[in-house]
Subunit: 197 residues, 2 copies
DNA sequence: CCTACCGATCGGTAGG
DNA sequence: CCTACCGATCGGTAGG
């Protein structure tokens, strides 16, 4: 029983270290020997904790996907305007990423190394998530809250690009907190950077 | 002479095919044997055209960097407002990318596989380019054209994220042209998506 | 551009 | 978690 607990936590240690390694070198260039060395064990010993290198990637990608999904579920329950929903969606997304910036970077950059049918599943989850944001934008246009001239595909892709690159430059030790960052990003997208007065 | 020209054009064929392969599989996961097969030759034969796998990556990354730089040089010569400069800079960047979406994707996603001192040089070019856009934003704030409350780092990072992800979803056979896309992206960033009337 | 090959390294297994 | 390995594959060279 305590043995099972120990194994579980050791497995998580392996996965977390792997995330750091995958983020730094990329999945393909990161070797299991590199990973073992970081953990102070032999490469062969890794396989008492995990089944394969790809299993690690899978758990990182799909766990993050589940977190993003949960966050957006909460937002959609709210009865608020489209711009408020968009704001909450952005803040939620950033909060999820901020909880694990390393896993977020792997989620974003390394998912393509997933083999089938996992890659297909992952891509479906992602397109679904993006479409839920698109729905919010469409609602905003319908309600007369957003310009009818905006290109929704461009807007949603711009949003996602900004969101997904955040792990590359966001400094968690810096002054700005995740929620504040989300608010500013949402404000910039909704209101632009031009002075309105 | 015609031999030299043939070699040159063959070298370029190799590089272009490599760009497609690097984009699709990632640099580390793309093997020279894969590349050779795409070209219908043996892996060893590649080395009569190129010195090493990394030499290909270097030429792709640094050639793109030079194109981006040239484009921004032109923009900075113009005597126009900050928002117009920003607009022209965005359009220029997108035009450069649209000329070679494959090389652009490699430039963005694979540069980290450059070895030193090339990686350092590349990163310096990139930060310099980003800072030139930041200067445009600062000018806009100073001139009272942009809100003084905007986070310039966030704004410039958002801009770059959107710009750099474009090769991932932009469909060159689609209806929207590069210049039009640049205009819309600039408009969205400057004016936001909210109705102002 | 080819054949023939090199040493290094890869993910992973057997058996303890 | 270790020692001892495996077959496959890697980037690249020699010599033509």
């Amino acid at each position: 029983m305590s043995e099972a607990l120990t194994n579980l936590s050791r497995k998580e240690q392996v996965i977390r270290k792997a995330a750091e390694l995958f983020k730094e070198k990329g999945y393909a260039a990161a070797s299991m020997r590199d990973l073992a060395q970081l953990l102070g064990i032999e490469a062969a010993s890794l396989y008492s904790h995990i089944k394969s290198k790809e299993e690690i990637l899978r758990s990182l990608c799909f766990d993050m996907a589940a977190e993003f999904r949960k966050s957006l579920d909460e937002v959609e329950k709210q009865h608020v305007s489209a711009s408020e929903k968009l704001r909450l969606g952005i803040i939620g997304h950033i909060q999820v990423m901020a909880k694990d910036l390393t896993a977020s970077a792997v989620f974003m950059n390394e998912h393509r190394h997933l083999s089938e049918p996992f890659l297909r599943d992952f891509l479906l989850l992602r397109i679904n998530y993006i479409n839920r944001f698109k729905t919010i934008l469409e609602q905003g246009v319908r309600d007369g809250e957003f310009k009818s001239t905006i290109d929704k595909k461009l807007a949603v892709m711009t949003l996602f690009s900004s969101l997904n690159w955040m792990p590359m430059w966001y400094d968690p030790t810096g002054i700005i907190e995740p929620v504040e960052l989300g608010k500013q990003l949402a404000d910039m997208l909704v209101n632009g950077i031009k002075k309105t007065s």
